[in-house]
Symmetry: C2
Subunit: 387 residues, 2 copies
């Protein structure tokens, strides 16, 4: 393992992204093996002498390693509201690590990387990946950073699934799991939305049976549609109504109906879809939505979630949002109940919000306070131990 930064310890205080090259083989759940892989990550704050104050941030479907601060492109991190000095995930107390995960498309090994066996991009041939594979890869990064135990593993949505998976795969390697707007498995409706998104990508003629990279093209229209479906379902009806209502671009609706105009909500979604299709890889979108669909926490435990969680050793904070209809509060309450049934320490909070699933990314005073208070107790405990 090596870092591509000049000094091996530079990353400890760096905000710029770093790349960890993992030279060990990674055996994937699907049976394939990645002989080596790279993980791009960012890290914020300082690792203490005991190496006990590290927090792992797990991104969701379309996330990346740039979680906080402003990067070289001037872009603010996707969770900057929550990570930073004095924020809920306080970088004056914690050493916060956020990798881009394998199979994604922001620098870590994925479909757009070169397959060492062929010398070509993996593309559609990148092996199928599961949440467990992301955890295994993150475990390599953990070893690489000489961290023996995470103070906490934190994530929203698919990130929350990783946090739960960590608690079962490496029970002794994390003190706390913060599981936000997640579910132990997807509902049929969730799977169906993902299926429509994948079909939109695959039916774009530019997809070329997955070999679009060989033709120097991308299925932009399909990817834009996929994102529009996703984006719409991450929002609540109320939030959309408040933001856009029935406003039409270019003035009010013409009562003669001659010019129908475009509703602002349509124009907004089209813009979001097009923007996303410029930056995300189609094969990554297919791989990661399949990962979401196939995640099933209790599957290897006779379908019994309490039996699964009986293997966990960490403490849990579970967070849900009232208007989230993709990963509803009911899903979080099922997680909480299963933890209670397994006799584990769990705190649960449902946050009132009209922002839908996206609420987990957005500023919300009660949510910030809940996560901040929970983690301040974690850091106080670390300080006690250090004394």
């Amino acid at each position: 393992m090596s870092l591509d930064s000049s000094s091996p310890d530079n990353f400890l205080n760096a905000c710029a992204s770093q790349t960890a090259v993992i030279d060990k083989p990674l055996d994937l759940v699907c049976g394939a093996t990645l002989p080596s892989h790279s993980l791009v990550f960012e890290a914020y704050g300082t690792l203490n002498k005991a190496h006990s104050n590290a927090i792992l941030i797990c991104h969701a479907l379309s996330g990346d390693h740039h979680a906080a601060g402003i990067n070289a492109d001037g872009k603010v991190g996707w969770w900057d509201h929550y990570i930073g000095p004095g924020k809920a995930i306080d970088t004056t107390k914690f050493f916060v690590v956020c990798p881009n995960n394998i199979g994604s498309c922001f620098g870590s090994t994925g479909p757009t990387s070169t397959d060492p066996e062929t010398g070509q991009a993996y593309g559609h041939n990148f092996p199928s990946i599961q949440v467990r594979d992301w955890v295994e890869s993150q475990k390599y990064l953990m070893d690489h950073l000489r961290i023996d135990c995470w103070a906490a593993v934190i994530g929203g949505s698919l990130g929350g699934m990783q946090a739960m998976c960590w608690s079962l795969a490496y029970p002794e390697k994390l003190q706390h799991a913060v599981v936000i707007a997640a579910a132990m498995k997807l509902s049929a409706q969730n799977i169906a939305f993902n299926e429509i998104a994948r079909r939109a990508i695959k039916s774009d003629v530019e997809f070329k049976n997955g070999h679009y990279l060989d033709y120097q093209t991308t299925p932009k229209q399909g990817l834009a549609l996929a994102r529009m479906i996703g984006h719409l379902t991450y929002l609540s009806d109320d939030a959309l109504g408040r933001k856009f209502g029935r406003l039409v671009n270019n003035g009010d609706l013409d009562t003669t109906g001659k010019t129908l105009g475009e509703f602002e909500v349509a124009s907004y979604l089209n813009y979001q879809g097009d923007k996303f299709s410029q930056k995300f890889d189609a094969s990554s979108y297919i791989l990661i939505t399949q990962m979401l669909d196939h995640f099933d926490l209790a599957k290897d435990y006779n379908g019994n979630a309490a039996e699964a969680f009986s293997h966990a050793q960490c403490q849990f904070l579970v967070v849900s949002f009232s208007s989230d209809w993709r990963f509803s509060p009911l899903c979080s309450e099922q997680i909480t109940d299963s933890l209670i049934n397994a006799g584990k320490a769990v705190s649960y909070i449902k946050i009132e919000s009209d922002q839908g699933h996206d609420a987990f990314l957005l500023p919300n005073a009660r949510y910030q306070k809940a996560v901040g208070l929970y983690l301040s107790r974690v850091s106080s405990k670390l300080e006690e131990i250090a004394l």
Copy 2:
């Protein structure tokens, strides 16, 4: 006006579809004029001597004129659970008329019809249509059938919008409006789902900027995606969960993950999308979803629904379904409240169902009883008057 059946009165008892050719110009809201148009319709039951027992059935987005009975192709009508002898809409009491509406694609004048000005199919050049245009066209059919006043105008979803529009456009031409699973206007979320559906159609390379008919092709992939989005949102999460859960075709999920398999819900939706894309016209889908988006009952009445309904003279039955999240019970309650504020006679019933928006088409004992009882009072009143 003429009928294409040999005898001009044959249609009164016919179950087979009839075509009414309306030779008068139809001025559309958009400013265009259809010099003449055809309406395919089916009729069930017998028109009484006073011509007072006629019911108009208004179909929704993808509906047609075949509402009840079994047609020549052996296909059961889309509302056969509710229309027939002894059923909620009792054809031993009422003369029930269901036209396919203009802009649709099952025989009435629409994008696949020949434009008399060009001798080519209208295709994408078919003028934009509004709910009011459907009502005007249905009014021509009413005159054609020598009906002076509908005993009731009944419809679900977009059909309910037509029933409300009738009550304002021709207050003296209907005794009752039965408004099922409808809304006075679409929410931003609803508009957004329709926009994604339209973009799926338009971004299919076979759409050819709307000129696909000239190329003897159809944007089947786009239309299938559009239908999958629609279909999924007409169902509830619970109903999908109960029907499919997380079942996977070809046996259970392989825990090695080697063969991911296809979830049954995905296979079901793909099948529904493909089936729909064989029979529906892409331009019709675009036109009718735009009609839905732009419907706004109160728009011409200062945005005040009670002011709008103050012009109505009929009585109303409003029906909603508990798990309908595209046209939620709240939408029906807004209609009911506006009618109450306008001082109109209205009955409202919310039906418990886990079938989502689709519930309005499906068997449900309480729903059948509610509509049946309401209409039995309507027919009793007709008999009283006749005595």
